[in-house]
Each structure stands twice: as C-alpha cells, then as structure tokens.
C-alpha cells in the first residue's frame, strides 16, 4: 500500500493504517464494501473523500462506485458530524405524537435548520431518522445512541442544555 503515499508526511501514512487493517480484515473483498465503509466510518466518524478513494483503489473498484454506495445509504456521512449526534425520530408514531415540536425547539436552541445540521462549534449534529423502533415511547430522540422516550419540546431543550453546560464547564 504505502507507496502511493510517499509524498505525504508520515502522518498521512498513519492516517490510512487503520483503514488498511479494516480492508484486510475483510480480505479485500469488494462485495464487503458496505461493512468496510461502516467500520471505517466508525473510526473517522465520517467518510472523507480521500479515504473513499483509498478504499476504492484497495478493492479494485472505481471511486464512483464507492461514492455511489456511500451517498446512497443514509448512514454514511460525507461530512464530519458533531460530538453529540442527536436523532429525533420522525416515525409515524412519533410524528403523530408531536416530533416536529421537538425538532423545531432544538433547531431553535442550536441555531440549526434542515440544511444546516451541525453547530459551528462541532458540538451537536441534529438529524431526523425515520424510525428508531421505540414507538411505544413516542416521541423519541437519541443522543449518541442513548434513547430518550416520551419527550416534550421542553424536556428535549433541557437535555441538550445540560450537555452544553457540561461542555462549557470542561
């Protein structure tokens, strides 16, 4: 591998070391592209363009093919996300029980919108997801995979404010 990276400082080499391990773990099998991207994203929190090209070359695929898959599936992030990823569930049950109110209260608090999903300080990313399968507790939101059920806009704001305060105290 490393030869293609000779013009980069050693940092660059180290950057791809982990990707390389993941690709090797899947025996460089192109049909394992999705699990590879999942693991790489777990490592980097998103899929930088360089990394996508690197994966494409390693698997003998075109960059377009890798980008095609990465952009098709909602789970793959092509841009970096905030430290706290908030998912407001917008499944049917949550929707009829007022998930829009949660989203808007949080948009307002974090100065975000449908087109701007991550705060400038890279602390929060707010996204809606179609269903978390916790419909019995609708409306539901998760903060870094921790599920919070039976929410109200006020409770949602309170939760996020608590995180903000904790982060400021650091």
């Amino acid at each position: 591998m490393g030869n293609t990276q000779t013009t980069e400082p050693t940092d660059g080499l180290r950057k791809f070391e982990k990707v390389c391990q993941i690709i090797d773990k899947y025996n460089r099998d192109p049909s394992k592209l999705i699990p590879i991207l999942q693991e790489v994203q777990h490592e980097y929190r998103y899929l930088p363009e360089q990394v996508q090209s690197y994966i494409a070359t390693s698997l003998g695929l075109s960059s377009a093919r890798v980008f095609g898959v990465a952009s098709f599936y909602a789970h793959f992030a092509l841009e970096p996300k905030g430290r706290y990823v908030i998912h407001v569930c917008d499944g049917t049950a949550c929707h009829v029980k007022g998930s829009d109110g949660l989203k808007e209260a949080l948009f307002d608090l974090l100065k975000l919108s449908d087109s701007k999903k991550t705060t400038n300080d890279m602390l929060f990313t707010l996204e809606t997801v179609s269903c978390l399968g916790a419909c019995g507790l609708a409306p539901v939101m998760t903060i870094n995979d921790e599920v919070h059920g039976q929410m109200t806009p006020a409770k949602a704001v309170e939760l996020v404010k608590a995180i903000m305060e904790r982060e400021q105290g650091k």
Binding site: V69, H75, T92, K97, L102, S130, C131, G133, C135
Partner: protein, 631 residues
C-alpha cells in the same frame, strides 16, 4: 465436527438448576424499557437483594447450586407504555412504571414478605382496580402470544433456557427426521404466509426454491424492518433471537441451502448485538456450523447490518445491498427463488415468518390452523402505537377485529392530553408507507390478508398507528409521502419524480395554496405512480394519499376551499392564541415555552407573540384549562 449436542440433557439440566431457586425476577431489557431506565432497576435490585442477605443468581450454573432469587433480563415484554416492567415468578406479579426507589418495596414485600406491592401493580384506568397476575391484565389477557410466546419470559442471552423450553427441537427434527420436500409440504399445509407484508405463501416459496438445481443456495432473513411505526421484528430478535435462528436453519434445510444471512437494520443496535451473540452461542453449542445435529449438512450464518435505506426491505434491493451495491431493486422475474444472491437460488423471509416456522414443525400444520382464518391461518404480531392508552407489542389471531385490538387490548383512544376519549377514534394507519387508513366503519371487520384488500389498506408488516380526532389526515398523507419521496432509490422516473411532485402538491394544500386543479392532479399522479413504478415501494407509495382521499376527502376540501384545517394541526393555517376567557393566568404555559413567546402577569390572561412562537404545542400541553388554540 463439534460434539453432538443432546438437547434433552441440556434442557433437563437447566430446568434442574432453575428448580433449585424459588423465585425469579425478570426485568424487561427491551429497547423501550431500557430507555426508561430498566438497567438502573436491575442494578438496584441486585444491590438491594444482597443487602437483605439473599443469594442472588444472575446466571444459572451448570450444576444445581441453588439460591434465593434468580435475577435476569428479558427481551421486550410488549407493554412498553407501562415500562419499565418487572415480573416476579412463580407469583406472576407484574410491576409497572418501576423506579429505582421502588426496588426496596419489591424486595421487602414480595421477595421477603411473599406478597405483592399493590401500588406497583397495573391498575385499570377506568375502574382503578389492580391486577395481581400479569396474565389477567387486559393488555395480555386478550392476546394469543404464539410467536412472541417466550419473548419477554426468557433470558434472550441464554441458549440453554431456549433449549429448556423446547427450542431447537424443531430444527433437530428437520435435520434428522425430515426430508426437504416434507418440510416444504408441512409449511405449505399450514398455510403460513409472509408476515413481512407481502402475504406470499411461504411453503410455495420454499418449494419453488427447492426445485431449483444449484450447487449453492442461500437463505436470507429480512430484518430490515423499515416501516416507521413498526417494531415487531426488533422485539422478536431482542427477546428471542434463537427462535429466529431456528427458523433460518429449518428454511435452509427445506431448500438445501448451507449459507444464510440476517440483514438487520443498523437502527437496531440491541437486536444486532443479541442476534450476533445468539449465533455465536449456537455455534459454540454445536447447533450451527458443520454437520448439523450429526447430519451431513452444514450451515454458515452471517449478520449484515443495513446502512439506512428503506428500499432494502424490498428483496431484490436487499440482495444488491448484501452484494455491496447500491440498494436498488431490479425487475422480476427472475425471482430470487431462481436467481437471488450472487445469482443463486435464494429464499428471503421476514423475521416473523421464520420465527413462526419452528412452531409449525413442532406442533404440526394442523395445530397451526386452529387459530386465524381459512386464508390467513395463525397469529400476527402488531406494533400498537399512536393515540392509544396501551402502546406496545401485541399478537392476535388473524381475523381479530380492530375494535378488539384498539379498545380491549389497547384500552381505548386518548386525546392530546393523554385522557381516554370514548369518541376520539378517527382512524388507524395500517401497513406503514405502503398501507392506508381504516376508519370507524372497519372497526368490526376481521383483519386478515384478504378481507382488508377492498379497503385499499394492507396488513403490511404490522404497524398499527391509532389516530385521534385531533389528527390531520392531509398531514398524515404528507408525512408518508415525504418518507417515500426520501426513500425512493431513484431508479425509475415515476417513483423518483412522481413522489416529489405529489409531495409538492400536498405541501401546497397544507400551506393554504391548494386548488381544485391541484387536488385533481394529485389523484391523477397517484394512479400514474402506482402503475408506472418498478418495485413495491413506488407501486404502493400513493396508497396513503389515495386512502386518506377516499375516507377524508372533506378534510382535503376544507384545506383547499376554506383554508382551514379541521383538526387544527396545519400550522400555516392556524394562528396561535390564548383564549382570554379561559386563561387563569397560572403561568404554566409561560414557564414551559422553550422560546419565550408567552408574556403576561400572574392571574391575568397571557398572550402569545405569533412572531416568536414556533407552534411546538408545549403550552397547549401544559395548559390545564384548554385555553390555548391554534398550536
């Protein structure tokens, strides 16, 4: 070859060690209860028990060691609304809404004092009477939990308990006593139909795949439960993962496959974790792997996590996704039975369908037919959610009526304040984005694959979202259209562009820009998308629109001609206002408003600044006097 497992011995040994402990406390560990803090309750119970010098057993050992209390987790017990749930065996007490501070009473009164903690029992919301045993609670009493059976009673992470309950016996029979043809015939005779929504006869699917000659065949368990408002598959995988694996094994034997995939949504991390552990345990126990039950058959089973694409629930798209491609459907035929994963014959079944299979093999197709209807035998699980008192996971025989489900099991419809409203029922959305609405006139119709057809709705995978009269049906249609538009894979134009235009038209209507021409265009377009799309996603995407138009046309018309939302939900058509004659000036709304839009002196009527207000509705929820309208 790993050592041959003796199911009977494993089961007997488990039962013996279990019998040496008088009581068992089960804390629900489903996603819902965990979100409500059930893990903290588990820890608190353990601590409290040890404080009382009771010997707590967390995992049954391989020898009979005894103890005072066997403390374990279960998967989803179904009654999510009342969580966290704690059950006590053999007394069968069910404690609801348990908090860590209640743990002391549970230990002192029940585990030491041998009597129930009355205040934690479920009480009838109408009469206030408490139910001591869990099976007397109306939510459970009227269900037939055949598929869910042990889901919620057993520890999903202990394979021995599954075996002790008769688990893997059906698989053993399938591998050692039955021929593939026989299995297919038995399943066909049972009349089992695909529980994922399609309703295709499972036996037929298997027979077709068995008939294909190939050196390699695959079984895929479709656990990409994407319908918003549905969580039956999640619960079964979390609560009884071995049941699903056993179903996969039987399917593999029936079609002579030796490799299987479980394709799970990545939104279900707990289900992924449980199914992975269950697979590893089954392999370790010598159930999965090489030479299954001493036969010459092998089974290799993989788990693949989805990556967030609803369309991957469609079988050809799912296959593409496993192959590492964009999850786009392709035309059928060839059907997966002929050419599926990597071009090989493949059976793709839903989690619940596979979970039903061991039951049929064990008890016979004849027995399976004793429940349900002629055309749709057996039971079906539903995720009951929305404006209903008891939300959760339920299972009823096919042919049950909505009235039984919503009013007997669900406990009735609630208004926006969470109070029971006897006249509140407006509609129930069934079948998710591919389905439609059922209304008052359908309450007594038997629910099965065939009788639901003329209504324009479908059984689907089992999401039932109850909606009260404060729900705007145009918004419901808009919601589903936005969903399908988002999830359209983009391959064919009618779906990709059609859903987009339909969404724009619905957007116009809920924002007060609707006209008669737009309504007509919407209907026309709906038919075009239905006819012109390739896969099920596109073909059924217009259903929610057509269905709401069929039953609630007057609501669409009110939005268009009177610029009014009869349910008061469409924000563009509503003006937030506090009714001065009702407002007592208590300040509850003012304190709750997240954006500070409400002003007013104590004890005098408050006001909302419509420019600041985000219409989130928090104030209306907080108001005890129904003084706030238009949000």
């Amino acid at each position: 070859m790993s050592e041959l497992i003796n199911l009977e011995a494993v089961g007997r040994q488990y039962k013996e060690s279990r019998a040496a402990i008088a009581r068992r406390v089960i804390v629900c560990g489903g996603t819902g209860c965990v979100a409500n803090g059930s893990l903290k309750i588990f820890a608190a119970l353990k601590k409290e028990l040890e404080g009382h010098n009771l010997k707590v057993v967390l995992e049954l050992g391989h020898d009979v060691c005894g103890g005072d209390v066997f403390l374990s987790h279960s998967g989803c017990q179904g009654f999510c609304q009342a969580g966290p749930l704690v059950t006590v065996e053999p007394d069968d007490y069910l404690y609801v809404h348990v908090k860590p501070e209640d743990v002391k009473d549970i230990v002192e009164q029940t585990l030491v004092g041998n009597r129930p903690v009355t205040r934690l029992l479920y009480k009838d919301p109408a009469t206030g009477s408490a139910f001591e045993k869990w099976h007397d609670v109306p939510f459970y009493k009227r269900q037939h939990r055949e598929i869910l059976g042990d889901c919620g009673n057993i520890d999903p992470e202990d394979i021995r308990e599954y075996i002790a309950k008769g688990g893997y016996e059906a698989a053993r029979r399938a591998f050692t006593e039955m021929k593939p043809q026989q299995i297919c015939e038995e399943i066909a005779a049972s009349g089992l139909r695909g529980h994922g929504g399609g309703g295709f006869p499972t036996g037929k699917k298997w027979t077709l795949t068995l008939a294909e000659k190939s050196d390699k065949k695959y079984v895929i368990c479709n656990a990409d439960e994407g319908d918003p408002g549905a969580f039956m598959n999640r619960s079964l995988m979390e609560g009884n993962p071995h049941r699903v694996i056993e179903g996969i094994m039987i399917a593999a034997r029936a079609i002579e496959a030796d490799e299987a995939y479980v394709y799970v949504r990545a939104e279900y991390p707990l289900a992924v974790q449980r199914i992975r552990k269950a697979l590893a345990d089954a392999e370790k126990a010598g159930i999965l792997g090489k030479g299954v039950f001493g036969s010459r058959h092998n089974i290799l089973c993989h788990v693949m996590e989805g990556a967030g694409a609803f369309v991957c629930g469609e079988e050809t798209a799912l296959v593409a996704s496993i192959e590492g491609l964009r999850g786009m459907p392709r035309p059928k035929p060839p059907f997966p039975a002929q050419s599926g994963l990597w071009g090989k014959p493949t059976v793709i079944n839903n989690v619940e369908t596979l979970g039903t299979v061991p039951l049929i093999i064990l008890e016979g197709s004849h027995n399976y037919r004793t429940l349900g209807t002629q055309g749709s035998p057996g039971t079906k699980t539903f995720a009951l959610t929305g404006h209903v008192v008891n939300t959760g996971l339920i299972e009823v025989p096919f042919g049950s009526t909505l009235r039984e489900i919503i009013f007997d099991i669900g406990g009735g419809v609630i208004d926006k304040h969470g109070k029971i409203d006897p006249n509140g029922f407006k509609a129930v959305q069934i079948g998710g984005p591919s389905g439609g609405c059922l209304v008052e006139e359908h309450l007594d119709m038997p629910l099965d694959f065939d009788s639901i057809k003329p209504t324009g709705a479908i059984i689907g995978s089992g999401g039932l979202v109850v909606m009260n009269r404060d729900t705007c049906m145009v918004q419901v249609a808009h919601f589903f259209m936005r969903f399908t538009q988002n999830e359209s894979c983009g391959k064919c134009v009618p779906c990709r562009e059609g859903t987009k235009q339909m969404l724009a038209l619905l957007d116009d209507i809920i924002h007060g820009r609707g006209t008669l021409e737009k309504l007509e265009l919407l209907e026309q377009l709906a038919r075009a998308v239905q006819i012109g799309s390739l896969c099920g996603l596109g073909k059924t995407a217009p259903n929610p629109v057509l269905s709401t138009l069929r039953y609630f046309r007057s609501e669409y018309e009110a939005h268009i001609f009177q610029k009014r939302c009869p349910a008061g939900q469409c924000k563009a058509l509503a003006v937030p206002e506090i009714l001065a004659d009702r407002c007592k000036g208590c300040g509850a709304c003012l304190r709750k408003c997240p954006v500070g839009a409400i002003t007013g002196e104590k004890k005098s009527p408050h006001r909302i600044d419509p420019k600041v207000c985000i219409k989130c509705g928090t104030c209306a929820q907080a108001c005890k006097f129904n003084a706030i309208v238009g949000v």
